[in-house]
């Protein structure tokens, strides 16, 4: 198969992909309406095709290159979370009792439910990419909508779990956070150091820890276990909050895709944005797949 060398294309000739006839709906190359470096936007072209940038040999190579760039970004995200997973690994190796105590305060059914919801959202996202590739606009919009709803369901369950922790004062630094919202008025302890102390609802803590461990413990031993709980809650909130932030950002981008999809901007020749957001969403799912057993399934 022969293809014209792009560097030898004469000016005034329309840019074509090999094997395709020249586009009659596009202005000529030397028209003031288009320049070599800024082809018309999709909205002005009125269809779903992507412009072929001059440094790519074909639309397929351009699409591949976009995915390559996304994969490199995903690798940085993996290493980003890797830092927190390292914290988890070191802590668990040195202080396993922190995790054995801590997991009693997490609800395994809620975590498992969240896992299934996120996996389902990954499925609908993959189906949405497929719909975009096949040009099925209604299916694309519907599937993106379902993905968005699943993501919102995940965040709702997470909010319920966080509220549970907040109600029993299990959030590290809770008193300080609460004082931000109450304008510093509620500060019964007075000094900043006292306000930063971890003072969970001891009744609740003992209820959850007692069946698992020895019954009669001294005050010092209970204080130690409460301290362990603080470490666990710190790790739990750092990991899940960072993940939830990524989910939230993903939902925002999916919303942007939804707007574009309902305007018919994606189709068989331009589905790369849907594809790339899909890759990000699957990575977010993958990270949760690892977070779930590490935090919730320690028995």
């Amino acid at each position: 198969m022969t293809q014209r060398d792009p560097s030898q294309r004469k000016s005034g000739e329309p840019r074509v992909e090999s094997g395709e006839p020249p586009r009659s709906d596009l202005p000529a190359r030397d028209s003031p309406l288009t320049t070599r470096h800024s082809p018309l936007r999709a909205a002005d072209r009125g269809d779903d095709s992507a412009p072929l940038a001059h440094h790519f040999a074909s639309l397929r190579q351009q699409s591949d290159a976009a995915r390559l760039g996304m994969w490199i970004f995903l690798v940085t995200e993996i290493l980003f979370f890797g830092g927190l997973f390292c914290v988890y690994a070191v802590y668990r190796a040195n202080r396993p009792e922190v995790f054995v105590d801590g997991h009693h305060f997490l609800s395994t059914p809620l975590g498992a439910g969240n896992t299934v919801v996120l996996i389902a959202s990954s499925l609908t996202m993959a189906l949405a990419v497929r719909s975009a590739q096949l040009g099925r606009r209604a299916a694309l919009v519907g599937l993106l909508g379902v993905t968005l709803l699943c993501g919102l369901a995940f965040l709702t369950v997470k909010a319920v779990e966080y509220k549970q922790k907040w109600d029993h004062r299990l959030v590290p630094g809770q008193a300080r956070i609460a004082s931000w919202f109450s304008g510093g008025a509620a500060s019964p302890q007075g000094s900043a150091a006292a306000r930063d102390q971890f003072r969970p609802d001891l009744q609740y803590v003992k209820e959850h820890l007692e069946p698992a461990g020895p019954g009669n413990l001294t005050e010092a031993q209970w204080a130690r276990r409460v301290d362990n709980l603080r470490s666990f809650m710190g790790i739990y909130f750092a990991l899940t909050a960072l993940h939830a932030l990524h989910v939230l950002i993903g939902l925002g981008v999916i919303g942007w895709l939804l707007v574009g999809a309902s305007r018919g901007r994606f189709g068989p020749r331009r589905f790369t944005p849907v594809d790339l957001v899909g890759l990000y969403w699957h990575l977010v799912d993958m990270i949760w797949i690892y977070l779930f057993p590490l935090l919730y399934l320690i028995h």
Partner: protein, 120 residues
């Protein structure tokens, strides 16, 4: 000038008119079913006390699920092999990070434990 070459030949069910391979619906649905089954497996296994094996099984199942997501949902299986290489390189560096840190942690475990005994 040659067309950009594909190191991997697209599978027979990949229509050449598309810019990338379209994953069949039945593949996506079976991967989803496998992922749900593996979730059920990992939750049920966690209720049995297998000692140190618990963590290994949990991580093994999680890795299997992640592999399925990467291969089929993220279409690494159907894409240019370079994408899979980049992903694996990322995972390799993560493994390097974790292994070296854990080597250090394990090395100093006796010191940490004797300190903890001392302040108890």
């Amino acid at each position: 000038m040659q067309q950009a070459s594909h190191p991997t030949t697209p599978p027979s069910d990949c229509p050449e008119t598309t810019l990338a391979h379209v994953v069949p619906v039945r593949v996506l649905l079976s991967v989803f079913a496998a992922l749900v089954v593996l979730t059920v497996v990992t939750v049920s296994v966690s209720y049995f006390n297998l000692g140190a094996l618990n963590l290994l099984v949990a991580l093994g199942v999680a890795t299997t699920k992640a592999t399925l997501v990467a291969l089929y949902f993220m279409h690494l299986r159907y894409d240019n092999a370079l994408h899979a290489v980049i992903f694996l390189i990322g995972v390799a560096f993560l493994a390097l990070f974790l292994v070296i840190t854990m080597l250090d942690t394990i090395q100093y475990q006796p010191d940490v434990q004797s300190y903890q005994q001392g302040i108890r």
